[in-house]
Symmetry: C2
Subunit: 686 residues, 2 copies
């Protein structure tokens, strides 16, 4: 129980101190006009109401699982699962819940302040506020996650059967955060757009549209809170899987190397936090007129600081150990270090490829835009094709990275590569959350009839945010794939599966793979259904209000829509819609493990990873590409706004929205959650 906990603990406290500083900084900024403050507070109320309600439902899940784990311990004391795992589980759930709440809290307060800053301080002022808000989320995520883990690890002396529960708690809350937030945001968005833009012919974010506030709330609970919970989960899962594997390797490599292997993930996560703090500071300090390059440089800076620091640490404190799979080979001090480098490099590559396929600067999006001239069917077909294409190189990169990481230091290498990718999560989340804040600021500017130049600034910031967000999304998927493979490997080791047990010649394994491959499709169809139903209800309500409230459609002075009902509808739709996918993700591995055993379960996890990564990548990228194809046309290409091509592209965008913001990101969590549940409950299945 060495120094590594101290270092990780200090780093996480530093992150939290930075959070406090940044939050105070953001809150000290002016909110602009009274109307802006009013709008902002409506968004705050809606988001808070949703999160409270979501957490009540998730809380009951948590309580049930807590009790189940405790009961398992009482009934079957010899398998090792008991109330201690339940406590770690609850701690993980609370950590994830806090991070989500914190992000929502600050994001809904930074929006009006960003708009106000754009009015007085231009691009630089607005970027400063938005980035600070995003960084509260980013640093909060990693600070809370790591601090919680350090405490749990210390409390239970690193016993993996207990500590793994922490990841399961974080994962569970993240799943509901992502799916619930995703359904909310897209249900509201589609409802608002289909009636507002298409039927009533009023612009986006028009205050007359009753669903606009719900749409804005959705951006915060989906894109900010959901994203934060997602990456927190990847971050925790990759630390936990490294730890679980290190624990199993402990005896084989001896105490000294064993301590090094157990400490390495903590140190890596800790230096990643320091790197992220420096990255955020760089952006805040050096952002001038070019926000794009400030953000990119900040991201690079944090990655480089992290790599250099972990390299130096490995050089001085690294211990060589026998390679777990390659007989007679000794892994030198640079083995885990290079695995981390591999993770960062391949994660960044996957991110850039996502950018290529989703940015209007490159051929794929332009091809969709061009095809839109022949109508919406071609938009969607081209968009689907682009999404499918975008999987090719990332998968080859991932496959190579898995082989190389194994070659470097066995399955431990895969887990470390995942963590390497995620070490700078603080910075990634900061950059990713800043986009929705800027987007929301734009909405508030629009609704408050501010000077159009304010909207221009926030649109510009948002556009930059879209690029970095595309990279971030690729990153999230790449890291999810890696983390899931790490979890799978940890599970197979923990369940003591021999190579014969999980052979492709075994029919149970094959059947598991087939069923696993089906789960992401099943899960996605549930999400689609939930978004559709939520949007349907929203459409009916908006139509009703336009008919029932006199003067609303024509924008008479003082006539306000009933936004609260719309927020309520989205909340209900999201809560209802997230239940079934949640059950599926939780119970599929349990049922499979109990019915067909751990070998079939391993097969199922592999199948789910294989088809899930494909579906996740192609959904996210095809949605992103269609979104940007629409924007590309709106910039004046192929006839510009209101042309036939534009109408087709709007259809494509609407089809793509749930793909990129609901289905794609939720699948990330699905494959990790199933892995972590299998890992935690492995003692049950043996």
């Amino acid at each position: 129980m060495g120094n590594f906990l101290v270092i990780a603990g200090i780093a996480s406290l530093l992150a939290l101190a930075f959070v406090v500083y940044l939050a105070k900084y953001v809150l000290s900024k002016p909110q602009g006009t009274e109307h802006m403050a009013k709008l902002s507070s409506m968004v705050q109320d809606g988001a808070r109401a949703f999160l409270y309600r979501e957490y009540r439902y998730v809380g009951s899940f948590v309580v049930v699982i807590f009790l189940l784990l405790t009961i398992v311990g009482l009934v079957n004391p010899e398998i090792g699962l008991n109330f201690r795992t339940a406590i770690a589980f609850a701690a993980g759930a609370v950590a994830s819940g806090c991070a989500g709440f914190l992000g929502m809290y600050i994001a809904t307060r930074a929006n009006a302040r960003t708009a106000a800053a754009a009015e007085t301080g231009g691009v630089r002022g607005a970027l400063d506020v938005a980035m600070s808000g995003g960084a509260v989320m980013g640093m909060g995520v990693v600070g809370i996650a790591l601090l919680g883990l350090v405490i749990v690890y210390r409390m239970f002396e690193g016993d993996p059967v207990i500590v793994n529960g922490y990841a399961m708690g974080a994962s569970l809350v993240a799943l509901f955060g992502r799916t619930g937030g995703g359904i909310f945001t897209k249900g509201a968005d589609m409802g608002a757009d289909l009636v507002g833009k298409v039927e009533a012919g009023i612009p986006e974010d028009d205050p007359r549209n009753p669903a606009v506030i719900a749409d804005n709330v959705g951006d915060n609970v989906g894109d900010v809170a959901g994203l934060g919970a997602d990456l927190l989960e990847s971050f925790v899962a990759s630390i936990i899987s490294s730890l679980a594997i290190a624990f199993i390797m402990y005896t084989a490599v001896g105490a000294e190397a064993g301590e090094f292997l157990r400490g390495f993930p903590f140190i890596l996560a800790g230096v990643g936090i320091i790197g992220s703090i420096l990255g955020v500071m760089y952006v805040k300090r050096f952002a001038q007129s070019n926000p794009q390059s400030a953000l990119m440089n900040g991201t690079y800076l944090s990655a480089i600081v992290t790599l250099v620091a972990i390299g130096v640490y490995s050089y001085f404190y690294g211990v060589s150990f026998p390679h777990p799979d390659r007989e007679g080979i000794e892994v030198a001090w640079w083995g885990p270090f290079l695995a981390a480098v591999l993770g960062i490099v391949s994660g960044t590559l996957v991110g850039f490829i996502s950018e290529y396929f989703t940015s209007s600067k490159y051929a794929p999006v332009q091809r969709i835009a061009k095809g839109s001239q022949s109508g919406p069917a071609i938009t969607v077909t081209e968009g689907t094709a682009v999404g499918m294409q975008s999987t090719i190189i990332p998968i080859i990169v991932l496959a190579l990275a898995v082989v190389l990481a194994y070659w470097l230091c066995g399955v431990y290498g895969v887990a470390i590569a995942a963590l390497g990718m995620l070490a700078t999560t603080g910075m990634v989340v900061a950059v990713d959350s800043y986009g929705p804040i800027a987007d929301n600021a734009g909405g508030i500017a629009e609704m408050s009839h501010l000077d159009p130049k304010v909207r221009e600034i926030t649109d510009n910031l948002d556009a930059v945010g879209n690029t970095t967000a595309a990279i971030g999304k690729g990153f999230a998927i790449g890291s999810a794939a890696f983390a899931a493979i790490g979890l799978l490997s940890a599970f197979m080791l923990a369940a003591d599966l021999s190579p014969q047990d999980v052979s492709l010649l075994d029919p149970q394994v094959l059947a598991g793979i087939l069923i696993g491959a089906m789960l992401p499709f099943f899960f996605s169809s549930l999400l689609f259904g939930a978004v559709g139903r939520c949007a349907d209800m929203m459409i009916l309500e908006v139509r009703r209000q336009f008919d029932a409230i006199p003067g609303l459609r024509d924008g008479e002075e003082g006539v306000l829509p009933d936004s609260t009902t719309c927020v309520d509808i989205a909340t209900q739709g999201a809560i209802k819609g997230m239940m079934l996918p949640g059950f599926l993700a939780i119970f599929a591995p349990i049922i499979m493990g109990l019915l067909l055993g751990p070998d079939a379960l391993a097969g199922m996890l592999v199948g789910a990873i294989a088809s899930g990564v494909m579906l996740g990548l192609s959904s996210a990228n095809s949605g992103g590409a269609m979104d940007n194809a629409k924007k590309f046309i709106e910039e004046g290409n192929y006839g510009g706004k209101n042309s036939e091509a534009h109408k087709a592209a709007v259809v494509g965008d609407t089809v793509g929205d749930p793909l990129k913001d609901t289905v794609g990101p939720s699948i990330n969590i699905l494959i990790k959650l199933m892995g972590v549940i299998s890992l935690v409950l492995a003692p049950l299945f043996i």
Copy 2:
């Protein structure tokens, strides 16, 4: 070299004799008016021209692979691959080519005759001609395939290294047939619809539209010739994989049981042919006013006859043998028989589920139709969700069937289950091909301005055909999955892979699975691209003709469009477009096997099956569901023709078309072809 070859040979000759009889019968029917004969002959010319050109390209592929196999034999005589395998390969290619040609030949001649029969003989007469035409294709496929295999097997004394080549040849030609035909038919269809129906506002199949003939040609080369080649390939692949596995089991089970295991697939295929002949005769004899029930009963009859016959055979001639995997267990005579029953039952189940998700009688399609009222984005989103949902039960059925078949008689059981599903291929193809013939007859009736009641009859027949075709498509995918798993297992045995070699703990296997899962997405994106480009060119040409040919748009008497150029464009688009996917399917397994070895290749096959079955099923069913949602609206629901809902549904149909007719079915062949190439070239990778 026993009696089983004699029985199979006689059955295949019977099938061919039946083909000659039916073909003569169809050709003896009158073609209707001169104009109808003219239209029919235009379709014939176009289809023949396309097939000739396609076969020239495919032929050069065949020659290259023939030479490569021969050279491998000269350079490395010890691995066993040589010109003998090349000969078997060429025989398979020729068999597949002949079957495709035969189907195209008769289908393009049965169309006008069906329309004429509808005019004089009503539903019954039309069904008789269309069904006879379809049966020429169906019985031709199985007769040619089995006869060729019997000859090759006899010639090379059943040596699997040689005989497996036959399946590879059939598979290769089938791939090009399916992809080329699929690109042709959807490129022409989308081109015709987008300009004709949407821009020019003229009805479907209007003779003024220059692309209508190409569209009709497409139905024949895609839906008839492509489908036939596809099922021929499944049929051959499932026999071959059973044989390959039986060969490997031979020594372990002893000569008597070994002969039984080798003979069983031939007997099963043979009695399946007899069953199919009886089924076709039943439909021709008892089709009265209710074509639907005649077709279903005929299909059941052929399945029951086949099962009873193989059951009786097994009872009298079956030999028990030690279970290959379960130590100490003896498989009784009913082991392989029950595996065959399992195959038929699960195949039929999968088919019915496809029907549920794609027929307008049930909730899913009606939900899409209802959603269409909110615009095309909802149509497509709901359609995608339905496709994803439709994978759930089929995959569970498949997974259970795999486990049960293994339990019954090891991996041999899986191969036999696949063959059981495919034993009545003759009947399935007959019923499936009859649909496009009826559809084409309707087109000819429309273009020849026949009495609307003729169109009513053919539409009715076509609608029935759509239902049976949906079941047939489900069947095709289910059997492809089974056949692919059979091929995979045969490959792993042939490459002498131990359970350790193909363990999920092996990073190479994991990497292989990831890459394999990506291939169907890559492949589909290539097909989408090809269809899109082909449709684009078609659109430009149709627009050009409408502008350049005076009087065409207004339908002036005697003004004819230039259909030949449109057929040419589709042909070129198809030929160009099928090359890259073909290369991918052929070279992916070879490269993987040579670079990372047979264990990674096994992983790749598993990954491709897992994601391919999902993508294939969901594409086929979501396309089918959107097609029928459009038809459901056209029947007068949700506003009927020309309502907003209908416009949205047309977009959905256009998006769904390439999914259901190009991507979905081509993936079937992809996963089988990669399996068969791996099996044939296994000696190369060891």
